[in-house]
């Protein structure tokens, strides 16, 4: 009789520990609830979920709230006894005594829980027997915020918003004020959304059953006619979105609760920043530059011009005088097409993607160590790890939903080590914050490795059976000068030692890294050292461990997987190997080049040298986001021909000869692959804006125009083509991706993989490699004249160049780039908070507003690059990672002075 219970006298099995409500739901027995919600813990405030429970048949029964009461084996549960039905009705009657009548009349039972529950329990406003008494009406609505809205007249004190803000987002912006009948939900210290610490994630708005807290789009309560499930375009987390549309227009976005990735949560970019898509500034026609002016053209005109130009250049300078840059913003299918176009149609391996400027060192470093350039584990492992090591990443801003999960775990006590020059949000919650000088990651990780060896905390069994090169590595590490490294990093060695011990002695330790690792001259080396940390402690191949890069853009992983890189084709196969080369040639049915192509920085060097004549850039604003843009612009101006595929007239598009108007993620279908190798379906929510085309279709049009027959763009047939050449996509079909996608490698039959390298590494044995720290060339050359170090980062509210987010309500939240500066540095330069300061590097200078902050140490400053007005990338250097050629955005030698107000100027 273990785990059996009688529900309305029917014999039923239950799962140990489950609540009565969860069992009833599985039995499809409808129980009304008000305070219960899918992604927060049972709370027990409304009591309308009550049921009768007796310990024996016809024995005395007790009323229990089903949402939080565990099932008792052998008990008798009655869900609709007379007294329970009456109780529910009487509770709802009490609720109605404090619910606005006009509002009740207007509420729809499909959307509003009060309207719904009154139907369920059979009571209406007119049935309320109490005389009118005290109420909570006539609150002042809060419309102070660009997105969030509150009108507490409709609040029923269910605490769902408060719990969502705490348990889901972890921000704790909302609370009850007062007690008893007087208690009411307040925002911050009762100051309204815009003055509060709210990060506009919208979790409260999605949780609220009555719309007392909602948003400008009234997301849960508007009159959408259709809902489409798709994937967010903003970052590598890959949140699932439910896009509500009406008359082919997007009117709001919510987050599906059954999404494995984000379980009903998103950040403000995913939920609210969609208004860019039909912004008046969207490009709506191909444009051809004639006499320095863009004029509208037909697609045919544009295609003809491009075909002619490219053919001419190919004829006279060879195919390698042409290069393409693909986009991590686009779908896998589009990326696959772009590289296929460059290789099979144009005939060059000069194809690279924006991953070059972010995670190329990750791909390379992890391939060298493990054989696969992708996260070893899944994000859900955060719930199974004992220690998180976060290096050079600020996930609460850049990967907000993953960041929220990490913060949740850290708050609850999972050990957290943060390696970052800035005091990020996570650093505040960290057990160990190693606040190193920018550019010294290698030194710091070597110190950690040193202490792990010195303390004898290695996993010798793992090292012995699964790795190679440890003995040499150990000797080299033990030879480092630990005191010298201490002064180089500026982090006390005792602190590093404690952190190293914490990481090495945790039963499961997991690392995460971001662009603070890769965007350095020693980026690839740093990634390899992170891999060493995992290998030396045996933290590979099971739940709650591993090396987990936090991928920047939504499809960085996918773009690389699809072959958007000059040295490997689709599926990371090495085409310099003749067998592989044949494989590709057979598959594409044409002759293919087999010489390794140019990486992005090499492309621009080649353009400057006059060797590269034409470029095709899909969806990337290199002229705002790439480093040292002065030099970059010169390179582009030196080209004979530039094609840009874009949504908006970006800084890069301005420089183009032909602009082709692409379509946003809302207007096309395909797949994105998130940072945990999860391939997920992107579904078109609205048709492309008139005059635009999905980027994949544009590429296909050009392929056909240039003589290669490629069928029209459709995600299912494209996936079929891809799955036959990309080995780890073998088992993927459009159908079997279903709602939550699959994590590659996906074997035939559709079995996917949450954790890789469980038995052995892709390359057999894991490879240890040692690297000595080297000062960045930028500092070696310029530090004497430019004594401060500027490092760049991102805000939560904006996405990269801001082309999209600046065209949404997000600009009303964060309006400009600012420079964070320590009070010491500010004082010694006579700078006050909010002053404009002039920042000069060896490349150029900009004026930017100072924000005094203790998030940075003296000597270090930090800024974002979302706004073209400031053009922070006038400052950044063209030093690159020695291996993967990723630019060093994170270290700029600079000097500062209080400015007189000019905005930007180019030196030299």
């Amino acid at each position: 009789m273990e785990n059996t219970v009688y529900i309305n006298d029917q014999h039923v099995e239950f799962t140990s520990g489950e609540t009565i409500l969860s069992l009833l739901r599985r039995q499809k027995i409808g129980i009304p609830t008000l305070c219960d919600a899918p992604n927060i813990k049972p709370f027990g405030s409304c009591r309308v979920c009550s049921v009768d429970v007796a310990l024996e048949k016809d024995g005395p029964s007790k009323v229990q709230a089903s949402c939080h009461t565990p099932v008792t084996s052998g008990s008798y549960v009655y869900t609709h006894s007379d007294r329970i039905k009456k109780l529910r009705k009487n509770i709802v009657e009490l609720v109605l005594t404090d619910y606005p009548k006009e509002r009740f009349a207007a509420d729809s039972p499909k959307k509003n829980s009060i309207a719904w529950i009154t139907q369920e329990v059979g009571i209406g406003m007119a049935d309320v027997r109490y005389e009118s008494g005290e109420t909570h009406f006539n609150n002042k609505p809060d419309d102070s915020h660009p997105y969030m809205r509150a009108n507490m007249d409709a609040c029923i004190n269910c605490y769902r918003c408060i719990r969502a803000c705490d348990e889901v987002q972890g921000e704790m912006v909302l609370t009850m004020e007062g007690r008893g009948f007087d208690s009411k939900v307040v925002i911050g210290q009762n100051e309204g959304f815009s003055e509060s610490e709210c990060v506009s994630c919208g979790a409260c708005s999605q949780a609220c059953p009555t719309g007392a807290i909602t948003d400008v789009f009234n997301s849960k309560f508007n009159d959408a006619t259709e809902k489409t499930r798709t994937i967010c375009t903003y970052c590598g987390v890959g949140c699932n979105l439910k896009v509500a549309t009406k008359n082919n227009e997007v009117i709001s976005i919510t987050a599906p609760y059954d999404a494995e990735v984000n379980g009903g949560h998103t950040c403000l970019k995913g939920r609210y920043a969609f208004k860019f898509y039909n912004h008046p500034e969207r490009l709506r026609s191909p444009l051809i530059k004639k006499d320095g002016e863009f004029v509208e053209a037909s697609w045919d005109e544009a295609y003809d011009l491009i075909a002619t130009k490219l053919s001419e250049i190919k004829e006279s300078h060879g195919a390698n005088a042409i290069a393409g840059i693909s986009s991590s913003r686009c779908t896998n299918e589009e990326n696959y097409l772009m590289q296929k176009f460059m290789r099979a149609v144009v005939g060059t391996n000069n194809i690279d993607g924006c991953a070059r400027v972010c995670h190329s060192p990750t791909a390379l470093g992890m391939q060298r160590a493990f054989g696969t350039g992708a996260a070893t584990n899944s994000v859900e492992d955060i719930n199974h790890t004992n220690c998180m090591l976060v290096i050079g990443a600020n996930p609460t801003s850049a990967h907000p939903v993953t960041g929220a999960k990490m913060k949740q775990a850290a708050m609850k006590g999972t050990t957290l080590i943060v390696v970052d020059p800035r005091e990020t949000v996570l650093a505040r919650y960290a057990n160990y914050h190693l606040q190193l000088r920018p550019g010294t990651n290698v030194a710091l990780l070597n110190m950690m490795l040193y202490y792990i060896i010195e303390e004898g905390l290695m996993d010798l069994e793992f090292i012995g059976s699964r790795t190679e090169g440890f003995d040499d590595f150990q000797n080299q590490i033990l030879a480092i000068n630990i005191d010298a490294m201490e002064s180089v990093t500026g982090v006390k060695k005792s602190l590093v030692r404690d952190a190293a011990i914490a990481y090495a002695s945790a039963s499961n330790a997991m690392s995460f890294h971001g662009l603070g690792v890769t965007e350095h001259s020693q980026g690839t080396f740093t990634v390899q050292l992170i891999a060493n940390l995992a290998m030396i402690t045996g933290n590979i191949g099971r739940k709650g461990v591993g090396v987990n890069p936090l991928r920047g853009q939504n499809n960085v992983q996918g773009a690389a997987d699809m072959g958007v890189q000059p040295h490997q084709g689709a599926g990371y196969l090495d085409f310099t190997n003749p067998e592989i080369h044949d494989l590709y040639q057979n598959y594409y049915g044409v002759d293919l080049p087999n010489d390794v192509g140019l990486k992005i920085p090499e492309m621009f060097d080649a353009a400057l040298d006059g060797k590269l004549k034409a470029m095709w850039i899909m969806g990337e604003d290199v002229a705002q986001t790439d480093p040292n843009i002065t030099k970059l612009r010169k390179s582009i101006n030196n080209l004979d021909f530039l094609v840009v595929q874009e949504l908006f007239m970006t800084e890069t598009a301005e420089l183009a000869d032909v602009i082709l108007p692409g379509a946003s993620f809302l207007e096309k279908s395909g797949t994105f692959t998130n940072g945990e190798r999860r391939v997920q379906r992107v579904n078109r929510a609205v048709p492309p804006i008139e005059g635009t085309k999905p980027d994949g279709q544009i590429v296909i049009d050009m392929m056909n125009r240039m003589g290669y027959s490629q069928p029209d763009y459709a995600p299912d047939t494209m996936l079929e083509e891809i799955s036959q050449i990309v080995p780890f996509f073998k088992g993927i079909t459009w159908e079997n991706l279903a709602i939550n996608g699959k994590q590659w490698p996906v074997a035939e039959g559709g079995v996917d993989t949450k954790i890789i390298h469980t038995e052995e590494f892709k390359i057999g044995k894991g490879q240890f490699a040692h690297f000595d720290w080297r000062e960045s060339e930028e500092l070696e050359t310029n530090a004497s004249e430019f004594p401060y170090i500027i490092t760049t980062n991102r805000d939560l509210e904006h996405y990269n160049c801001g082309a999209m987010t600046r065209r949404t309500g997000n600009v009303d939240i964060v309006t400009e780039d600012v420079l964070l500066i320590n009070i010491e540095d500010a004082q010694s330069n006579g700078i006050a908070d909010g002053d404009m300061i002039c920042v000069t590097s060896a490349r150029g200078k900009v004026d930017i507003k100072a924000k005094i902050s203790d998030a940075v140490k003296p000597g270090v400053m930090s800024t974002t690059f979302h706004f073209p007005e400031i053009m922070v990338n006038l400052l950044t250097s063209d030093v690159h990672d020695s291996e993967a050629k990723c630019p060093e955005y994170k270290v700029v030698a600079a000097k500062i002075r209080k400015s007189k107000g000019e905005v930007r100027e180019v030196v030299g």
Binding site: S45, R47, V95, E134, R163, T175, M176, R179, F181, N190
Partner: protein
């Protein structure tokens, strides 16, 4: 209850306790400023809303408490005694209206006219010396009440335990060992004195059986029931009994920290207990290596801030954690997941204070006192309507009329009912007194509740409808506000009664019955769930008096 807040608060734990910080920072101004609340929130890595929401919950922390200097008792006993209006008139001469606020029961129910000024309580004739009190010229005022016992060997009211007795008792405890002492406690069959009557031995045993790196013993000294001041007596006059009881609990269960949550309305008790702990500290009976053993135990006194519901054990735990003291769902029970998520035993002051006697005389000796199911002795508190007001220790099971008429000596003026067991207890009409014995079962079978056994007399002259209004108002004021039946129901109930009193409309009996049933079975805790008992008693026994307020079909 927020797991996050609990964990963040636990980063500083009891040593630099967040709630204690809030209470400390309210002294002076009467409320912590928004800046202080923000900086505390930052320090504890919480949202700025959190500390704001927490402090708004408590009578002595909330913004409305700014500048308050003097508090007038508005508890049932003082209300029924009718002393507070004239008291307030005298205060108004010396204080601005906004400097005067309320406290609900100062434990001076034996002489009333109770008020609190400058962290001290006053009652009886003290008000006549108000100017001396304000000038600090009068500072030796103490209340006095009879303390009596029927027993040869009192459990709770004997000669106070001294520090030396404490050492000896600990040696005895140590030599008997945890298991034997636990079986004595189980044999004694002692049940919790805080109201619910849960067997103490079970609680300690289940906590003992859970493996954990940290456990806590919590002494519930939030004695909020108006009419009850027996815990106050124990804290002020028998503090060592309470402390030793806690240490014994810790010794058995494997807990090394003991928290005494003492209500802010008892400033003297806080001071006396704090001094008693210092005394123990001075002789090495506090902290590590007690009497050279490897046993460690540390006490921590937490001062309450004016919220009746903090006596409810889960609300109390949230309060200590610096969260809003809203009642938690159970399971998990405190013995599984209590203070800061660790196994915790919460016991009432009186329950704990009985432990030394049991240790000394044995469990069966204790069990031989009282009845089968209600063993031992019980403290009862008699208010000022009795000829002999005071705190008395009686054996469980003695006839209730003996308590009222012999020990109490009967009433000074005509009384129609006694309210036993606090505001959530039952209203016993004079006619029923002879049918009851003073034990858990007898009261329950009679349709009443023994509870904590404070006894408040309702005089003939006091309209029952006013008393019911007071009870609903009390519940509305003190409801934590979490669950719907109590939060909304208590106010709607009070409104129904007020409307009927004002002649606006009479009470719809069916609706009132529905409301009582909704609160009784629907509420999350015994605050909303307990109120209906007394109201029903009144409706049953005082029909004639109340009928005029009820709509007749």
């Amino acid at each position: 209850m927020s797991e996050n807040l609990r964990a963040l608060s636990n980063r500083k734990g009891l040593d630099k306790n967040l709630f204690e910080q809030l209470v400390d920072r309210s002294k002076g101004e009467g409320t912590p400023s928004n800046e202080v609340l923000k900086s505390l929130a930052h320090e504890y890595l919480m949202g700025e809303a959190i500390t704001y929401g927490v402090s708004s919950f408590y009578d002595f922390l909330k913004e409305e408490h700014r500048g308050v200097k003097v508090h007038v008792c508005n508890g049932s006993a003082c209300l029924l005694a009718g002393t507070q209006d004239s008291l307030k008139e005298k205060l108004v001469d010396n204080f601005e209206e906004n400097q005067i606020s309320h406290m609900c029961c100062l434990g001076r129910c034996h002489e009333n006219s109770a008020f609190n000024y400058g962290a001290k309580n006053y009652s009886g004739k003290d008000i006549d010396q108000l100017s001396g009190i304000i000038d600090s010229k009068v500072n030796s005022l103490k209340d006095s009440y009879t303390v009596g016992s029927q027993l040869d060997q009192p459990v709770l009211t004997g000669n106070p335990m001294s520090a030396e007795d404490f050492v000896q008792a600990f040696k005895q405890l140590n030599s008997k060992g945890a298991d034997q002492v636990l079986s004595e406690l189980k044999a004694s069959n002692i049940r919790g004195r805080g109201g619910a009557g849960f067997p103490m031995g079970f609680k300690i045993e289940s906590c003992k059986n859970i493996e954990a790196d940290q456990k806590y013993i919590v002494c519930n000294a939030d004695e909020g029931d108006p009419g009850a001041y027996s815990d106050r007596y124990l804290l002020e006059h028998q503090p060592m009994l309470v402390l030793f009881g806690m240490m014994t609990s810790g010794f058995i269960a494997g807990a090394n920290k003991g928290v005494l949550y003492i209500r802010g309305e008892y400033p003297e008790a806080i001071e006396i207990v704090t001094n008693a702990i210092k005394e123990l500290e001075a002789i090495g009976m506090h902290g590590a290596n007690i009497v050279g053993t490897d046993f460690e135990f540390k006490f921590k006194v937490i001062e309450g801030a004016g919220a009746y519901v903090c006596g409810e054990e889960t609300a109390l735990l949230s309060s200590v954690e610096g969260q809003r003291p809203e009642v938690r769902v159970r399971p998990p029970y405190p013995t599984q997941e209590g203070l800061f998520g660790k196994p915790t035993i919460v016991n009432n002051v009186e329950t704990l204070a009985s432990i030394p006697w049991i240790l000394k005389n044995g469990g069966s000796a204790y069990a031989s006192l009282g009845t089968d199911k209600s063993t031992g002795t019980k403290l009862i508190c008699l208010d000022s309507f009795f000829i002999n007001p005071g705190v008395y220790e009686v054996e469980m099971g003695i006839p209730f009329k003996e308590v009222i008429y012999e020990i109490g000596g009967g009433f000074k003026q005509a009384v129609k009912a006694v309210h036993v067991g606090g505001p959530l207890g039952g209203i016993v009409p004079i006619s029923e007194i002879e049918n009851l014995n003073l034990d858990f079962e007898s009261f329950q079978n009679g349709g009443f509740l023994l509870g904590h056994a404070g006894i408040v007399s309702i005089p003939e002259r006091f309209p029952m409808i006013d008393y019911l209004e007071h009870l609903f108002q009390f519940t509305a004021d003190e409801s934590c506000g979490k669950c719907y039946p109590c939060r909304i129901g208590s106010v709607r109930g009070r409104e129904m009664i007020t409307n009927s009193k004002n002649g606006d409309s009479k009470i719809d009996k069916e609706l009132l019955d529905d409301l009582l049933e909704t609160m009784e079975v629907g509420s999350l805790c015994a605050l909303g769930g307990g109120l209906p008992l007394g109201v029903r008693n009144a409706l049953q026994y005082f029909k004639d008096e109340l009928n005029q307020h009820i709509k007749q079909e």
